[in-house]
């Protein structure tokens, strides 16, 4: 994974590769946010369920930053999207054959942002929320979320 640094990220931004609003929104919180990776989400992974890691439990309610890929949302502009560890080759929203992977994080945005292209690594900052919650509009059930989220493009795979 050719994850580039934030410096390069800013350069990409200046060349217009990323909506400026994305970075402006992301900048203020970044310093305070603890980083969390997909590998760190679960302490145990089993057929009968997953258990959140101690790190997730400790960070619940706090500002965190996570890197991953934006799953193709239903609409080009949406207030929430699904963050996955690897790019999605299928769209579970539209294909009855496909299904979400187990380790997904739902991101609620403060304001609508345009969709990141596929295979584009993004960094999301938001408040970590843990526990089952059903989205009233879509009925989508999530167990782990980033609320008040902002994201910025980090680089291409």
């Amino acid at each position: 994974m050719a994850a580039t640094s934030l410096v390069i990220d800013r350069r990409r931004l200046l060349t217009g590769a990323v909506p400026a609003a994305a970075l402006l929104a992301a900048r203020p919180a970044r310093a305070a946010a603890a980083s969390l990776t997909f590998e760190e989400l679960y302490g145990t992974i089993g057929v009968l369920g997953l258990a959140f890691s101690d790190k997730v439990k400790a960070l619940a309610g706090q500002e965190v930053a996570m890197r991953g890929f934006m799953a193709p949302p239903l609409k080009a502009e949406a207030a929430f999207f699904v963050l996955t560890a690897i790019p999605m080759a299928l769209c579970p929203f539209c294909s009855s054959d496909a299904d979400w992977p187990n380790d997904i994080v739902v991101v609620y945005l403060d304001r609508k942002q345009t969709f990141a292209p596929p295979a584009t690594l993004i960094e999301v900052t938001g408040r970590l929320e843990v526990g089952s919650w059903t989205d009233p509009e879509s009925g989508f059930v999530s167990l782990i979320r980033l609320t008040h989220g902002r994201f910025a493009v980090v680089g291409r795979l």
Binding site: Y42, I45, G46, V47, L48, G49, L50, A51, F52, P72, A76, P87, M88, A89, L90, C91, S95, S96, D97, D99, W100, P101, N102, T114, F115, P117, P118, A119, G131, S132, T134, G139, V141, L143, I144, R156, L157
Partner: protein
């Protein structure tokens, strides 16, 4: 036939206004005598109850079907728009075989259909049926599996697949009621109900109302087995157990994606053996990893119903032989055979002790064969299809070899229990072909120069030194050239995907799929432009016929060209499911009493032994 044609002509002549109606079961439906089904007439306008006239072979439908009027004043679409009146009767039955013409009129609305209600032999031909289905199994998968697993010398195969020795066969038409193209829901539903239906539908005719769970139902094979016999039922798959193929044995929904509801339907039928993936839909929503939207805990419910639970291959060994098995080995689909056995990619790192299809089939037979009344076992090689969609041909072939080894287990069981019918088939095909070899030693800079065609193909150099029936590796220097007929934009690498399952295309902002750049720099990769709509993420099913093969009592019913719905008839005949008898002679009450005295759970009709 003539009357149906006349009726059709009449309705065509009348059309001009919105004056047609739809009768379900549809025209030319074949219905097992005595089996319950829902009857629905959808009028294309709002009509008055007293205008409706429906006859079955000339007799008023209320008398003929022994039910009420079932009149629905108006049905609406999802936006509340009126669609017209309807008549809907649940669970009617026809007691005598024969041709039945249904005529429905209301004002100018009229339609006529003819059904064939068929009976079966009075006595069963087979005690057991093992129905093995390779999802997406095409002729090329079989040819490639034989070449890869057995090898070839001088143009003759060095060995035979287990499925090569089944002695009866038929070509099977797989199309849906709404399209020549098809999916695993309506195809397996046709096998398991005797009724063809629409793409994405299971155990129902597709009606016009938006709800997916209210469509007119027909009886599934497991339900017929429960109604007419004391046999056990088993499901063994490598996909999620809620996936279309296993679901079609028990479920009724217009939408195969209703997986949480399908688990509930599975629970109501309670097959004695349930082995596969898909635990996420068994867990209450509060458990991380759950995909349910409610608090129902089906792990607990199945346990309370007397099931022994296994979550990996060791636990499966430990509960083998118990009366009721629930084995869930993955939250989603099990990994591909190639990943489970050799490459350890996909999610094998997280779930390292998944059993394979062969072990699961053995465990199922061990358990089911303890029922002296016999059993119906459905075994699905689920991931042949799942690998074929993303054009990952080596994984698809490896899963085909595994499927064939499960066929071998079924054949060994049949050798010891000759009263067993073994059926091996696919549900639909994929557009793939074997065209020769890819030979790294051929000269040329471009990979296409290394594709050996005609005499230049020679023979592939896979090896099976450990004798396990699988090639020791798939990335040999002279490998099969497997190509698909359709797909999205993607990079052709001319090589097996050793780093993990192939993901040919990724979705873009506009909803279209573009070639996945990840494979761009594989040496020799070339961009292949897609030939199907840009919103398709992978290769699609083919409309080509499926080859069905069978052996054992009743297998002589398979011949020539058959529709998938005709296959049901042979299965029903083998078990004499149309006979007036069976459960009445051996009441379920007695069975439960026997179980109770033997100290076993009595949540169904499993006999005491």
């Amino acid at each position: 036939m003539r009357s149906r044609l006349l009726a059709l002509a009449a309705s065509v002549a009348l059309s001009g206004a919105a004056d047609a109606a739809t009768v379900m079961p549809l025209d030319r439906a074949t219905i097992l005598v005595g089996s319950p089904f829902d009857f629905k007439v959808e009028f294309e306008a709002k009509v008055k109850a007293d205008e409706v006239r429906i006859t079955v072979n000339g007799e008023d439908y209320r008398t003929a079907l022994g039910a009420g009027t079932g009149f629905v004043e108006v049905e609406t679409d999802k936006d509340g728009k009126e669609l017209g009146s309807a008549v809907l009767l649940r669970g009617v039955r026809i007691a005598k075989p024969g041709r039945y013409t249904v005529e429905a009129t209301a004002g100018n609305d009229r339609w006529s259909v003819t059904w064939e209600v068929f009976g079966t032999a009075d006595a069963p031909k087979a005690r057991n049926i093992i129905f093995l289905l390779g999802d997406g199994l095409s002729v090329a998968h079989r040819t490639a599996a034989r070449l890869m697993a057995k090898g070839m010398t001088g143009g003759k195969a060095n060995g035979r697949l287990a499925m090569d020795d089944l002695d009866r066969m038929a070509f099977i038409g797989t199309s849906a009621t709404d399209a020549v193209a098809t999916d695993s829901a309506n195809t397996m539903s046709a096998y398991m109900t005797g009724h063809k239906t629409a793409v994405n539908a299971l155990g129902v005719y597709a009606d016009r109302t938006p709800a997916s769970l209210d469509d007119p139902r027909v009886e599934t094979f497991a339900e017929a087995v429960r109604r007419q016999t004391r046999k056990s039922v088993g499901l063994v798959v490598t996909s999620e157990i809620e996936d279309a193929t296993p679901a079609a044995v028990v479920a009724h929904t217009r939408r195969r994606a209703d997986k949480a509801e399908i688990v509930e339907m599975l629970f109501s039928v309670k097959p004695e053996v349930i082995l596969g993936g898909g635990s996420a839909y068994f867990l209450p929503r509060a458990v991380p990893g759950s995909k349910r939207r409610d608090d129902k805990d089906f792990i607990a419910l199945f346990r309370e119903a007397g099931y022994a639970l296994a979550t990996d291959r060791d636990e499966l060994q430990a509960i083998a032989g118990r009366d009721r098995l629930l084995g869930l080995f993955h939250p989603g689909n099990l990994d591909y055979a190639l990943d489970r056995m050799q490459l350890k990619k996909g999610t094998v790192g997280k779930f390292p002790r998944q059993p394979g299809l062969v072990e699961m089939t053995r465990a199922a037979l061990d358990s089911l064969s303890r029922n002296p009344d016999g059993f119906f076992l459905m075994v699905e090689g689920s991931c042949i299809d799942k690998a074929s969609h993303p054009l990952d041909w080596e994984r698809a072939v490896f899963d085909t070899i595994e499927f064939d080894q499960a066929v071998a287990v079924a054949r060994q069981f049949q050798a010891a229990h000759p009263d067993t019918l073994v059926v091996v088939t696919g549900d639909h095909t994929h557009g793939m072909s074997v065209i020769g070899t890819i030979n790294d030693d051929l000269p040329g800079d471009e990979m296409r120069e290394k594709v050996g065609t005609y005499a230049a193909a020679g023979f592939p150099n896979y090896e099976d030194r450990d004798g396990d029936g699988y090639p020791d590796r798939v990335d040999v220097s002279r490998r099969l050239a497997l190509f698909g007929t359709n797909g999205p934009d993607h990079y052709e690498t001319f090589r097996p995907k050793l780093d993990g399952p192939f993901e040919p295309a990724l979705k873009t902002q506009g909803g279209t799929y573009v070639a996945n750049d990840k494979y761009k720099d594989v040496p020799g990769a070339v961009l292949v432009k897609g030939n199907i709509p840009k919103d398709e993420e992978s290769g699609v099913h083919a409309v080509d016929d499926v080859v069905l093969q069978a052996a054992g009592p009743g297998a002589e019913g398979f011949k020539g060209y058959m529709e998938e719905s005709d296959v049901y008839r042979v299965l029903a005949d083998a078990f004499a499911l149309g006979a007036t008898r069976t459960v009445a002679n051996s009441p379920a009450g007695q069975a439960s009493a026997g179980e109770a005295s033997a100290g076993k759970a009595s949540a169904g009709k499993t006999p005491s032994k």
